[in-house]
Symmetry: C2
Subunit: 362 residues, 2 copies
């Protein structure tokens, strides 16, 4: 698989939804396969909360890409046939401009000065990337979770630049409970003694404990309750392999491990920015009408939900499809079992991959 | 309503399930109504995680009791007819021996030295209290959530000392997800810079932030998702009444408020002890068979679940009833709507109160 990773600078900057501006910004971009001569085979992948530009294949730094089970030669999203593009979103911490980047105006790390960004902002930066890559339109834009929100927003914001959208394990907006969970995560970060109002890099510290607790909570919401029960049940952790001596049960040790690992690589300000973007997105827009918001969509929609997903359960996908039907938008809505709860969108299953493949080719 | 509050000392102490001992301990006890001559009208109320001995009526220090909607003159649990007893459990922080008490052996605050206690330990201390009050048996033992676990354990541990048990919004054991959520809460407390391995009182500080985050998470699990959505939806908090400037949505502000308030009154070590007791309880015992564990029960059981409860959903009550049926134990299992999610057990509704009243009188 031909794969290219590069950092692309956008010198003209962008006006953000919040009213703030980035005078210039970088996108870390990875591409797979090749654009055909007629430029009709481009696919955009939008990553979820903790994802990045490295969607497929394996590299030394980042290991296996987050959607490698779905994206690659002869896979559901076939890199032999399609030119697949994935970029790290601004506000993140994997190469694109974000709170750990140097602010070109002050020559200092942004820290808490990096502005809040939104799903619309990401879609707009991806549109700028599309123009730079001389891609006339996306054959398919797809993502799961927060990535699914971007795919939906693409079809709303640029109806003539997208033929098909894949909206997986996602929602047109986060629920009250989703927001509440994210606020607990943010609170644990903000109250870490090393947070320093977001300017911890200046202080040479990292609010590791806060990120760890936040991720432990996040992780619970990504897993299916049933799967967790089958995997860990009420089994006790043996003393020798306890990460923390306070741990009794295996599930506690697992969360400790996952949280610890994540806290070593993810940026605290990015955690706040990404969750705020997730909470803030509402496809229904200011008019508060999803029917109205979807009126201009010309893309065909594939909406996939998973029964075991309790973060964005199947009902949330249904809301999108009902609005699509009300607007005579061509759409398919499929609910799959999915063993992995919310994370099911990341994993290959024969049915899931086939549905995606057929949809792209149809 | 005649109500007496007193601290009762148990000089002979107790051997705990963990293998540790308390050489002596206190129970803070509140009683309502009067024991009749035949001593047949005693009712024990078991409190949930953050409850205490003050179940009914209003007093200056603690305001309205936690089950005042259910307990009082002419209410579901009628204090004109019954002698109602409620004690604060050991390990808590409302008067009974706990981590904020003075260790009689060292004359210092227990702090992290207070031993882990279990649901069985609480039931055993309540049995000692019963003996001290010269009560031959309980006509009814009832509680919700962690209190319901105690009611179940009473019927298992002392089959000839209890006629009826009320097990509300409870389970025979916590699920993997329940444990996981509690571990996140504990992690946020343990990593608070003021926690000092549980010996914060010596240092004249309180791990307030950790308790606050823990409670914010707990609070989400107590509320119904639907109710939260109806009450807060995606409404924005107006700037003037923001508790924290980082807050955007009303639900965030509400959680901030609830967490802040709780963190001013609840002890961090108690938080850990109470959640560990909740996680550790498994009515099925070492044999891992609920059928086997319930074999000796002679009490009649009233099991109530609530559709909107996602912490201990109705399926968990069903597990208890199936084991009861398998043992020919007289039992009723009712699932009510309950607007308040897990907390529904605390609130009066015509149906709920009537069911409790009829059950007690039957």
């Amino acid at each position: 698989m031909k794969s290219i990773t590069k950092l692309i600078n956008f010198t003209k900057g962008i006006a953000l939804e919040s009213g703030k501006r980035l005078d210039s910004f970088d996108l870390m971009v990875e591409t797979y396969g090749e654009l055909n001569e007629s430029k009709t085979n481009a696919i955009l992948l939008c990553h979820a909360f903790s994802g990045d530009h490295h969607a497929a294949g394996k590299n030394e730094d980042q290991g296996i890409g987050w959607w490698d089970q779905i994206v690659g030669p002869s896979k559901a999203i076939d890199t032999d046939e399609y030119y697949v593009v994935c970029c790290n979103n601004i506000g993140g911490c994997s190469g694109s401009s974000g709170p750990t980047s140097i602010n070109p105006n002050t020559k200092k790390v942004y820290g808490s000065d990096f502005p809040i960004v939104s799903v619309s902002d990401w879609v707009n930066t991806q549109k700028m990337l599309m123009d730079k890559l001389n891609i006339p339109y996306w054959h398919f834009v797809a993502g799961g979770s927060l990535g699914g929100m971007q795919a939906l927003q693409w079809s709303i914001a640029y109806p003539d630049k997208i033929k098909k959208a894949g909206i997986f394990a996602a929602a047109a907006k986060s629920s009250t409970q989703n927001i509440a969970m994210n606020e607990v995560a943010r609170e644990s970060i903000r109250k870490d003694k090393n947070f320093h109002n977001g300017n911890y890099i200046e202080q040479n510290v990292i609010p590791k404990n806060g990120i760890k607790t936040a991720r432990m909570l996040g992780h619970i919401t990504y897993l299916s309750e049933k799967h967790m029960d089958l995997r860990f049940g009420r089994k006790f952790q043996d003393d020798a392999s306890k990460i923390d001596k306070e741990v009794d049960f295996e599930v506690e040790n697992y969360l400790q491990y996952k949280g610890e690992k994540f806290s070593e690589s993810f940026d605290a300000n990015s955690y706040i920015i990404m969750t705020k973007a997730m909470d803030g997105y509402d496809a229904a827009g200011k008019e508060d009408s999803l029917d109205e918001a979807l009126k201009e969509i010309r893309a065909e929609l594939l909406i996939v939900g998973f029964y075991s997903d309790w973060l964005y359960p199947p009902e949330r996908g249904k809301e999108i499809q009902i609005a699509a039907i009300n607007n005579n938008i061509k759409s398919s809505y499929v609910v799959l079992d999915g063993e992995h709860g919310h994370d099911s969108f990341l994993f290959h299953s024969e049915q899931y991959s086939k549905i995606i493949k057929k949809f792209i080719q149809s």
